[in-house]
């Protein structure tokens, strides 16, 4: 069964035909199911962001890419994809431009040609979802604090109610609480509203605790794929390409190295259970 995102043999190169040409992606094939929470991890320059932009129809690529049943080889399909696929870039607050927060969030929905009532409903819903108070609706987005700006920018994408949401390190530079709130919000969209999520991140704890499946990119190729548990069990391999594993997985590896009988684990609750079991066995 083809997924909502279906990629076969994808190649992307920058500056083709010049001495500075380089391949960003070489031979990627992957599929994401509807309602899935997919994490993409990899060291810097491994092509994660490029892959995300291909999925959003923002980059022309070689190979077969279909998203939401649309063949992205056709420019027309790429140009119309924004109605179904939302993408939140790194530092999305840099895209704010309107005179008020309300208008900025309404920019996408208005471009979709929705009625003004529907636009208002969606903007309010999005602002509530990201926890912005009603007082800021009429402020200039440039007057907000850093965290508020980020949330306003994210609301601008959520208000379009995308089927697929692509996230490129959406919480970089936020404080832990803001980070958790936003990640909870995205998880809820995925679990309750069946929004398909693709998250590019460096935060392995988030991957371990939230994602259904993980794709590991390395130098433009897929190095590994599977559930977080399967991936993080391969601690050595991940470290050899410059990635760290979450705390619980490190703990499991080092306990196993000491000859203690613990299972592979990736999340903190799992680690807690295992350690408790181990201690009980001793007592």
């Amino acid at each position: 069964m083809p997924g909502i995102i279906d990629i076969k043999n994808l190649y992307v190169s920058y500056a083709p035909g010049t001495p500075i040409q380089r391949h960003a992606l070489r031979g990627i094939s992957m599929a994401v199911e509807k309602g899935e929470y997919r994490a993409i991890i990899g060291p810097q320059g491994s092509g994660k962001s490029t892959l995300l932009q291909v999925m959003a129809g923002l980059i022309e690529a070689e190979g077969r890419v279909s998203v939401c049943g649309k063949d992205l080889r056709h420019k027309k399909n790429r140009d119309g994809l924004w109605r179904q696929v939302g993408i939140i870039f790194q530092y999305p607050e840099r895209q704010l431009f309107e005179d008020t927060v309300f208008n900025d969030i309404a920019y996408g929905p208005r471009n979709m040609g929705l009625s003004e009532d529907e636009v208002r409903r969606r903007v309010k819903a999005a602002l509530e979802a990201v926890n912005l108070d009603e007082e800021v609706y009429c402020l200039s987005p440039f007057k907000l604090s850093g965290g508020q700006k980020r949330r306003a920018a994210i609301a601008g994408i959520l208000a379009m109610e995308p089927e697929v949401l692509l996230l490129d390190e959406p919480t970089a530079g936020l404080d832990p609480r803001g980070k958790r709130q936003l990640m909870d919000l995205f998880s809820n969209l995925c679990r309750k509203k069946q929004v398909t999520l693709v998250l590019v991140t460096h935060d392995m704890e988030e991957v371990a605790h939230r994602a259904d499946t993980v794709t590991v990119l390395y130098r433009g190729r897929i190095a590994m794929g599977g559930t977080p548990k399967e991936i993080f069990a391969r601690c050595k391999e991940l470290e050899s390409i410059g990635l760290f594993v979450p705390f619980a997985a490190q703990l499991a590896t080092s306990l196993q190295a000491k000859g203690l009988p613990v299972r592979n684990m990736t999340t903190l609750p799992e680690a807690e259970q295992e350690v408790a079991r181990l201690l009980k066995g001793r007592a």
Binding site: Y14, W82, V85, I87, F89, P92, R94, I157
Partner: protein
């Protein structure tokens, strides 16, 4: 791939050719000489004499001809319009007539001369920036302007301004592309829709770009101050420029050629 990757006009092209290795000061001095020569040249002999150094330089730079071609492409319209205006308006022997419009022989020749000169000017300027890194270019300019400091010319400040401006061109293009993509993902594409939609989309591009530039300028000023930037007082350079024989030869030949071309014109 990206919207801006096809801007070749004058972008540095890495290489190790004779032109790349010349002293940037010599290259900067050579440019006005070539320009004077090209502008003074009149008649077949003059055109050949002024064309040869540019042609030689183009061949010696080790840059594929296609790159020059792409660089000239945006200027085709200007060259053609120039040619058309000259041919159509200059009085003289009629070569071709269509209703009110007539092309004169003299006008056509004048137009061709104009296009030839313009192409040479553009190509030689392109060569300078394509074979010299922006860093070397501004450092050399500062060095050349040094003697004028006595007369109150802020050589260092001018060079620093140029360095910063050049340094931020790619950053700005990158940022423009990022913002463009972000807005495109919200349905604000600058390349589709009617005029009104495109205008609105360009506001959505320009406002964040401007805000970003101001933010960056602020950060840069702060970072420079934090590192004790005080203008050029007491500054030394890692890279010292040195004229080599080839630089002297090139400049001498160019000066000689310019004199010959000037003599040819007024003789």
């Amino acid at each position: 791939m990206s919207l801006f990757s096809n801007i070749t006009l004058g972008q540095y092209y890495p290489g190790a050719s004779l032109l790349h290795r010349m002293d940037p000061r010599a290259k900067i001095l050579a440019l006005p000489l070539v320009m004077i020569m090209v502008l003074l040249a009149d008649g077949t002999a003059g055109f050949i004499m002024s064309g040869i150094p540019v042609l030689l330089a183009l061949l010696l730079a080790g840059i594929p001809p296609g790159t020059y071609w792409r660089g000239l492409k945006p200027l085709w319209a200007i060259l053609l319009i120039g040619l058309a205006i000259q041919s159509l308006t200059y009085p003289g022997e009629k070569l071709w007539q269509w209703g009110m419009l007539s092309v004169s022989r003299e006008g056509f020749i004048l137009g061709m001369k104009l296009s030839y000169r313009l192409s040479l000017l553009i190509l030689s300027t392109m060569l300078l920036t394509m074979t010299t890194t922006p860093m070397n270019l501004t450092a050399a300019l500062e060095k050349l302007l040094q003697p004028l400091k006595k007369f109150g010319v802020p050589a260092h400040e001018l060079a620093m301004m140029m360095t910063i401006a050049l340094r931020f061109v790619p950053t700005l293009l990158e940022e423009a592309e990022a913002v463009m993509k972000a807005q495109q993902a919200r349905g604000g594409s600058v390349s589709t829709g009617n005029l009104n939609q495109r205008l609105r989309a360009s506001v959505a591009l320009l406002v964040p770009l401007l805000a970003g530039s101001i933010r960056r300028a602020d950060e840069l000023a702060m970072a420079m101050e934090a590192r004790g930037y005080r203008g050029d007082t007491g500054r030394t350079r890692l890279k010292q420029f040195k004229y080599r024989p080839v630089d002297i030869i090139v400049l001498t030949v160019l000066i000689a050629l310019t004199i010959v071309v000037a003599a040819d014109r007024w003789a």
